[in-house]
C-alpha cells in the first residue's frame, strides 16, 4: 500500500514538472549571422557565406553555404510545388546553362534554395531534380530551417510570404555570386538577360 502511494506521489511529481518543459519543444529559432571561425582564407566582409545556418541537399547531406565557395554560383530561391513563376525561372537558368561551353559550365554552380522548409524535403528536392533533369555535377538543391531561409532571403533582398494555402508569394530574382560568395549582379523579373549573365560569368572565370 505504502509503495503504491509513494509511486503515485512520484508520478504526480514527475507530471508536475512536464508542462514547464514543454515550451522548449518549439525551439526553432537558431543562431543567424555569424559563422564560426572560417577555415583558411577568411570570408570577405560582404560574403553571403558568412551566414552560418545549416542546410540539407537533396542527397541528404548537411552542408553550410560556405561549401559553395570556390566557384561562381547562380542562386535562385524557389519552392518545388510552385505552379507559377518558379518553373519559368528554373527553365530560363537551364536554357542559359545549355548555351555555355562545356569548360565554362564546369567552373560554375547553380543553386536552388527552397522557401518551403516543411514540404521540400530531401525526397521532394530529389524528385524536382529528376523532373527538371538538373545535372548532379553543378546543380545544388537546398532545404533549410525557416530561420536560415529568412536570413538568406534577407541578404539576397528576396521578399517572400506564405499564403493561407501554403503557396509562397516571392520576388523573382536570379543572383550571381562570385567564388567568394559576394553578390556580383542580380536579375529581377522573368526575362533573364542571358547575354549579360554570360559576360559577367566570363569575367569572373578569368579573374
Amino acid at each position: 500500500m505504502k509503495r503504491i502511494l509513494y509511486s503515485i506521489a512520484a508520478l504526480l511529481l514527475v507530471s508536475a514538472k512536464l508542462p514547464a518543459e514543454e515550451p522548449n519543444t518549439n525551439e526553432v529559432r537558431r543562431s543567424c549571422c555569424i559563422a564560426a571561425a572560417a577555415p583558411a582564407e577568411p570570408l570577405t566582409d560582404k560574403s553571403l557565406y558568412q551566414i552560418s545556418s545549416s542546410w540539407t541537399n537533396d542527397a541528404g547531406q548537411a552542408i553550410q553555404l560556405s561549401s559553395l565557395r570556390g566557384r561562381p554560383q547562380i542562386v535562385v530561391m524557389f519552392f518545388a510545388s510552385c505552379q507559377l513563376t518558379c518553373p519559368l525561372i528554373v527553365s530560363q537558368v537551364k536554357q542559359f546553362e545549355a548555351t555555355l561551353p562545356e569548360e565554362t559550365r564546369a567552373k560554375i554552380g547553380f543553386t536552388l534554395v527552397s522557401f518551403d522548409s516543411i514540404r521540400d524535403t530531401q525526397d521532394a528536392l530529389k524528385n524536382y531534380r529528376a523532373g527538371h533533369s538538373l545535372s548532379g555535377d553543378n546543380w545544388t538543391l537546398l532545404n533549410g530551417s525557416p530561420d536560415g531561409v529568412l536570413d538568406l532571403a534577407a541578404v539576397l533582398g528576396v521578399k517572400f510570404k506564405q499564403d493561407a494555402q501554403g503557396q509562397f508569394s516571392h520576388s523573382n530574382l536570379i543572383t550571381l555570386l562570385n567564388s567568394d560568395g559576394e553578390i556580383v549582379q542580380q536579375f529581377a523579373g522573368l526575362n533573364l538577360n542571358k547575354e549579360q549573365l554570360g559576360v559577367e560569368i566570363e569575367k569572373l572565370i578569368k579573374d
Partner: protein, 265 residues
C-alpha cells in the same frame, strides 16, 4: 502508516497544485516584458489567398524599445557588433552612425533613448543574445493596436488621432528617452510615438516603387503578389508601416528605426 498516508496525500495535493499553477495560471512574463494574450490579428494588407485572420499565440514583448544603454552592453560583450568590427553583409555604412565611437554613444545617442541606426541582423543578434527574438509583423501589429484603455484601439478615436499625429511629424535628430509615452492596455509603451521598429518578417511586405497603391507592383518581379489590397482604408498608420517595411533591406540602418524583443511563453 496513517501518518505516512497523510504526508503522501499532502505531497500529492501540493504536486497537483503546482502542476495546475504551471499549466493553467498565466506565467508572469520575464522582467522588463509584458504578456500579450492570445488573439487574432487581421492583416492590414493581404493578397487574395492570404488568411483574413492570423491567430497570435500569447507571447512576451519587451515593455520598451531597446535603449542605447542596452545595446552598448551588447556590443561590449560581442565585439563583432561594434561599429568598426561589423561585417558589411549584416549592416550598411550607417550602422550606429550617431555614436561617437565603438563604445562611446556620445551626445547624439543618449543612453536612455532607443538605439537606432541598427540593421535587422544586428537587432536579431541582440535578441538572440538575450534569449529572445524579434516579434513577427502579426505580433507587433496585434500588440500595437491596443490603446491605453482597450485592446481594440481601432475603436478608440483619441488614440487613433494621437498615433496619426505622430506619423505626420518628422522624427527629431536626437531622440527622447524611452518610457515617457503612455503604457498601452498590455503595459507596453512607445510602440508609437518614438521610433519605428524592426520585425522578424519585415521582408514579407511586398510593395515596389510607388506604394500608394498596388499599381506600383510590377507583376513580373513578384510571384502571386498582384492581388494585394488594403482591408481598412481608415488605418493610415498601418498603411505607413506597411509601406515603410516594404522599403527596408536587412542591412539598412536608419535614424528612426529601432526595435524591441519578444519571447515565446
Amino acid at each position: 502508516m496513517l501518518k505516512h498516508v497523510q504526508i503522501i496525500f499532502l505531497a500529492a495535493i501540493a504536486a497537483i497544485a503546482a502542476w495546475t499553477a504551471v499549466a493553467c495560471a498565466a506565467e508572469p512574463p520575464p522582467t522588463g516584458m509584458v504578456r500579450i494574450p492570445a488573439g487574432v490579428y487581421r492583416p492590414f494588407f493581404r493578397a487574395a489567398n492570404d488568411a483574413k485572420e492570423i491567430s497570435v499565440k500569447s507571447f512576451a514583448l519587451d515593455a520598451l524599445p531597446v535603449t542605447t544603454r542596452d545595446f552598448l552592453e551588447f556590443v561590449r560583450a560581442h565585439p563583432q557588433w561594434q561599429r568598426s568590427g561589423v561585417k558589411h553583409l549584416f549592416a550598411d555604412d550607417s550602422y550606429l552612425k550617431n555614436w561617437a565611437g565603438d563604445l562611446e554613444p556620445g551626445t547624439n545617442a543618449p543612453l536612455d533613448a532607443p538605439v537606432t541606426f541598427v540593421s535587422w541582423f544586428a537587432a536579431r543578434a541582440y535578441a538572440e543574445s538575450q534569449g529572445k527574438r524579434l516579434p513577427t509583423v502579426a505580433e507587433w501589429e496585434y500588440a500595437a493596436q491596443a490603446s491605453s484603455t482597450r485592446a481594440d484601439g481601432e475603436n478608440d478615436a483619441a488614440f487613433k488621432r494621437e498615433v496619426l499625429q505622430w506619423y505626420s511629424t518628422a522624427a527629431p535628430l536626437k531622440l527622447g528617452a524611452v518610457g515617457r509615452g503612455p503604457k498601452n492596455f498590455y503595459g507596453a509603451a512607445d510602440l508609437h510615438g518614438l521610433v519605428w521598429e524592426w520585425v522578424l518578417d519585415f521582408n514579407t511586405a511586398m510593395v515596389t516603387g510607388d506604394s500608394r497603391g498596388d499599381g506600383g507592383i510590377d507583376a513580373q518581379y513578384f510571384c502571386g503578389a498582384g492581388a494585394q489590397g488594403a482591408q481598412d482604408l481608415d488605418n493610415f498608420p498601418a498603411f505607413m508601416r506597411y509601406g515603410f517595411r516594404s522599403s527596408l533591406k536587412a542591412d539598412y540602418c536608419v535614424h528612426n528605426l529601432g526595435f524591441r524583443c519578444a519571447k515565446d511563453l
